[in-house]
Each structure stands twice: as C-alpha cells, then as structure tokens.
Symmetry: C2
Subunit: 110 residues, 2 copies
C-alpha cells in the first residue's frame, strides 16, 4: 500500500479459522499499524513488549481486554493503551467477529 | 488518566469555537495519542513532522485529508498515515463535528 492514502481498515483484515489473524497497514522503524482479527472465541494471550507502547482501538465487535489480574469489557469505538512492559491481550467473547487496530511504537523486530 | 484503562475517545474531545481543539489521551517519548476536534469549517493547515509518522483515524463526521496537491474525502472509520516528512492536514467540510484520533510516533517536543 502506498501512503498517504485513505484506508478502510476492515477491507484489509485477515481472518483465520485456527487463530487470530494479523495484517499490517503501515510499518516503519517508528510505528507498526496493524489489525488483529478474532473469530468468536479466539484470543491473543497475555504478552508484553519491551520498550514499546501498544494502542488498541476496537473497530468491530466486543470482547475483553486482558491485563494481569483484570479483564476489561471492550466494544467497538473503545481504546486501550498498554504502556511499555504492561502485559496485555484480547479475547473475543462476543457472538460475532472482533476487529481491533493495534499500533505499536516503536515497531517490533527491526 | 491512568493506563491501561478503557477509553471512550469522544468523552475526552476538546471543542473550541475559534480553532481546532486538541486533547491528549496518552503520551510517552515513543508515542502521542491525541484527539483533533473540528467544528464545521475548522481546519488544521498543511504541516509536516520531521522524524515522525502520523496516523489519523476518523472517529466521527466527515471532511478532507489535506495533502500536497491533493485533498482526499474522509469519513468516520477511515484511516490515513502520513509518513515522516509528508505534509498533511485536515479540514471539516461536513455539516457536523469532525473528530479524529491522531497518533504521532515518536512523540513531538521531548
């Protein structure tokens, strides 16, 4: 994808029957803008990123933000920031698909 | 605001009669997660950030993404990335309020 361009995130989602699907909308050394797509029941287990902040923005569906010792209900339109080192995850507990924008700064693995 | 917590972005928007309103949802050296709120007719003129990538995500309303030599219609749910150094702006050409999430990585002015 060439940037800047108008992006409709839902058109780029990758759905997988066996596990959460991932797609990348933009990446640079500074930031990764991705999509996490969860079929009903799928989850991204609690994990942390050293030296990175993570922003989730729920685009479609509902579920739970997973944190250490807490599970927070989430729905479309809501946002959560997991600062550097804070373990976080997502579980689709809703009846339909759950799509979340996931922004990592800086980008991992470079 | 303590993080991580569930954020409903619209509840944090700052609206100003005289110019675009800004609010900060999260900031660290790595990333600034903010809101740009435009009353009808308001705009954020073309500008660029050296060494930073900017992600806009339209939460409410409609308008134009401003780029050098181009104006791209935008509406709620759409996203645009202005990579490092690419001049960009926003104009509310719609009949109602326009609210955009604006993510800058790394954060400016630190």
């Amino acid at each position: 994808m060439e940037h800047p361009t108008v992006i409709r995130p839902g058109e780029h989602a990758v759905w997988q029957a066996d596990k959460m699907g991932k797609a990348t909308l933009f990446s640079s050394p500074r930031v990764l803008v991705g999509l996490n797509a969860f079929e009903p029941g799928q989850e991204h287990a609690l994990h942390a990123h050293a030296g990175m902040d993570k922003v989730y923005h729920v685009l479609e569906g509902e579920g739970l933000f997973l944190l250490e010792g807490r599970e927070l209900p989430m729905q479309a339109g809501e946002l959560l920031v997991a600062p550097d080192g804070v373990p976080h995850g997502v579980r689709n507990t809703g009846p339909g698909r759950l799509l979340a924008l996931a922004v990592l700064a800086p980008a991992p693995g470079r």
